[in-house]
Every structure is written in structure tokens, then in C-alpha cells.
Amino acid sequence: MTIQSPFAASPLLAEVAGLSRPDLERLQLVKLRRQLARLYETSPYYRAKMDGAGLQSEQVTSLAVFRERFPLSNKADFLADQTEHPPFGGRLSIPRDRVALVNMTGGTSGQGQEIYGRSQRDIHMQGYLHALPWFLAGLRPGDMALNCVPAGGVTTGGWGPGEGLRIIGATGFHVGGTLSTDAKIDLMLKLGDVNFIYASTNYLHTLTEALMRRGIDPKEAFPGMRTLFIAAEGYPIEWAEKVEALWGCRLAEGYGSTQCAGFAGSTCDKGVVNDGKRGLIHLFEWENLFEVVDPVTLEPTPSGEIGELVVTNLSVEGSPVVRFRTGDAARFVAHGDTGSGWGWNAIECGTIGRFDDMMKIRGNNVWPSAIDAAVFAHPDVAEYAGRVYTTEDGKTEIEVRLALSETAAMQFSPEQRRALFQAVRGAIKERNNIWVTLIEVERSELPEFAYKARRWKDERQAGYRL
């Protein structure tokens, strides 16, 4: 079933897409100055930052002045602020009794969890910043939607999707973390006319694998499926093309985080792959101001290069972030190079990683997402787990335990196995410049991930991580 383009279906969106870059930056500056003036009055944390820099909101006469003079913050700053002013820190810029929802970061870094207080207005906007990317990707009022990300709890990802589906007027089934994969498939078969699935990249892989294992052709079983929307993890182009072919619909991707208070950008109606090339995540820059910088020099990253995303919330009320270093690594594409005709800057699909996930192995910068891309470019691989360790004589070794898909595990001859392992090993070397030792294991020996996958363990002591 074809639907109207998002811009034809929403005059509001058409208006935003029609903003020229200078108009968009003027809007950003107006919102930024308003935000800074409010924060000076309401947030002890940001008042101290501004006083320390000798900067008042009226002195921010351009975005360039803001970038040059407003101090950066990072996770450690926020955690220290929370320790000093528990529980929300001096960042909270609304009265505590107006906090209607608490969001926390996942804590996977091991440093601690950032706490964010959300006002009722923020909750609506958090919903909107899920509804908007999904609308761009093809979700429409009245659609049947499956949310495979665990709902509830204290994460932004636990609440945003529910609000997003609710306010756009879709019928949401929040099955993440509550139904097993087989139970989800049974439900989908009962529903039949499912139009939209939201899942982590990894979980969409698991769901697709499980359907194939049961002999179900997704394209035939769910002919009304319009969009598969993924987030949170990288993937190879080959995988994206295979998933689109199997499901017979478009794969879309968003970039979001707790610090962005929802999704901060998404693919347009072209999806994640175009003519065999990676698509773009267009940033909703009227809600968040983005800088992409070299993580060492903090100089702006040129278009086409990888840099660290620095985010400023232009209108969040509760616990806004201003010039926050996300640690997220993305390939920056300036608005003039996107080919979209819009004034929005973009980042590349499928390659977003974390600077703190990067491993230094034998002198190479190795990104887990790049190894994922090399491994999962081979459709006969179901899952893998990696380990970097130091041998007794001080050598660095890399072990990858790899499980084949059920069909390959049952049907592959020893020669086919050898050929596949050689191809995977070669692909890892080609994309990451490291040779690894591959070991075949049963699929059941490796974990299944309901949300973000954690496939790597670096067991080296600090002095050996070179």
C-alpha cells in the first residue's frame, strides 16, 4: 500500500523542511538565547558555567560566539553535579514538584547513571520526538505498531516510544522485554496487518532469524508492513539490503539518546540504503543544536569525516544539556552535501559508534561496529562474541567465537565452513586491519540481546591496551 510522502501529509513538516540554512540557524539562535537566559535564572549548574566563562545570554550574538565561549560538559561533570546536589544536580531547571517523569541513562559505561527530570511539556515533546522520525519513515495515524524495545522503567527508550505511538494515534503493542521472540511472532501472526516495527538493530536481526527458523516468509506473512525502524547499533549494508528484501519494506534508522530527550534525527523516506550506499540520518536541528568535533582537538569536523557529537537542547525544560560531549562517534555530512535540498545537517546511517567502545589493538583503532559490519555481511553467521586478551608471554590475541545460522549449521560441509570462516576472517582484516582467531560455537552458547548488544570483552590490563 502506498502512502503520501510525509511532506505532502504534513504541511507543518513541509514548512520545517522548507527552512533555508540561514533561517534555521536564526531560529536556533533565538531558541538558544531564550534557553540560556532561563537557565541562568533557574539552574545553579549552568549559572556557574556562564559566570565562569564571563558569558551572559545577551552576549551570545551568534552561534559562533556560543561555540567559542560556552564551556563543554561531559558525563563526569554531570555525575559530580548529582553527587553535590542529589538527586538531579544543579542542572534541574524546573521546581522539583514539576518533575513528572524521571529518565536515567543506562549505566553501561560503568561510570554511573545520569538523572534527568522531565516536565509534562518535556514528556509530550519526548513523544513527539519519537512520532516525528517514525512519521518520516511511514508511520501514520491508525497504524498497527509493534514496539520491541523494553517499555517502562527509567530510560528514555522505555517511555518515549509509548508516548510517540499514543500521540500520533497508532495502536501500539509494547512487547519488548515482556514477550519472548516466539510469543511476539505468534502475536504478529494473529494480528496479521502489522504496519510498523521499532526495534534495536540487533533485535530486528534476532526476530528475522527466528521467523526464518520457523519457515515464515515475513514478506508474505505481513504484507501490510510499511516500515522497520531501527536504532542504537551499527550494521553492514549487506545486512540492511537483505532485511529489506526479506520483509519487502523499507528499513529506517534514527539517532537518539537520553541527552537528546528522544530522537534527534532520522532517515527520510529514502531509508538506510540507496543504490548500495549508506543513507543519511537528517538531524532535527530546530530542537537540538549539534556540533561535530574532533575528540582530541575539539575543532569542527569537516563534512565526510568522523567526529564526536556535541549536543545542546534548545527547548527542553527539565534537565537540559548544553554543549554536552556525547562520546558518540558519527560521520558528519554537512547540509549542502546531503542532496536533500533541506537545510538540515546529517550523519551517516549504520556507522554510529562510541569513542569509549573503541579498542586499541596492535596499534589499530578498532570499533566493535566495524567488526559487526564485517561479520554480519555474511548472512550465514547468526551471532558472535569477541575477546581481546594478553597471553602469558605478553602477546595480544583476539578470539572471536562465532555461531552459524541454524540452516548453515545443519547443512554446511566442512569445506563450506572453512570457506565461510576464511571469508569472515578476511573481511575483519580488510575493515579493521587485525587478524583474529575464529572458533565455531553453538548458537545457544552466545547470548541473545533484547536491546543493545555487548559483544566484546577487553581482558587486557590497562598498560597492555595498545
Binding site: P6, A9, S10, L12, A131, L132, F135, I167, I168, G169
Partner: protein, 58 residues
């Protein structure tokens, strides 16, 4: 027990409901769900206030 239930709130909510009905006529597919969401919240407030008034009357 005295329940505070000022009648002007009913007037305001009724007016808001009327205005929201006009918003729900929007053909903007990104906004119409949000307008219906707003309208249903107003309807819920009207309904729960009617319930309180019944208690007061008894």
C-alpha cells in the same frame, strides 16, 4: 465533605472541548493524532468533574 468544584472550570473545559473539535478537523497527519490526544484529555477532565459533581449533589 465539601468538594471544591468551581463551575467556571466546566465552562472553560467545555470551551476547550469545542476548540479542540475544530483542531481535530486538521488534515495534517503529523498533528491530527496529537490534537485528538489533547481533545481526549479534555473529555476525560470533563467526565471526572461530572462524577465529582454527582457526589456533591448526593
Amino acid at each position: 465533605m465539601k468538594i471544591e468544584n468551581p463551575p467556571q472550570d466546566d465552562v472553560i473545559l467545555a470551551y476547550m472541548l469545542h476548540l479542540s473539535e475544530r483542531l481535530c478537523e486538521s488534515t495534517d497527519a503529523l498533528l491530527v493524532g496529537q490534537y485528538r490526544h489533547l481533545q481526549d484529555r479534555i473529555r476525560a477532565l470533563i467526565e471526572l468533574r461530572e462524577c465529582a459533581r454527582k457526589v456533591e449533589a448526593e
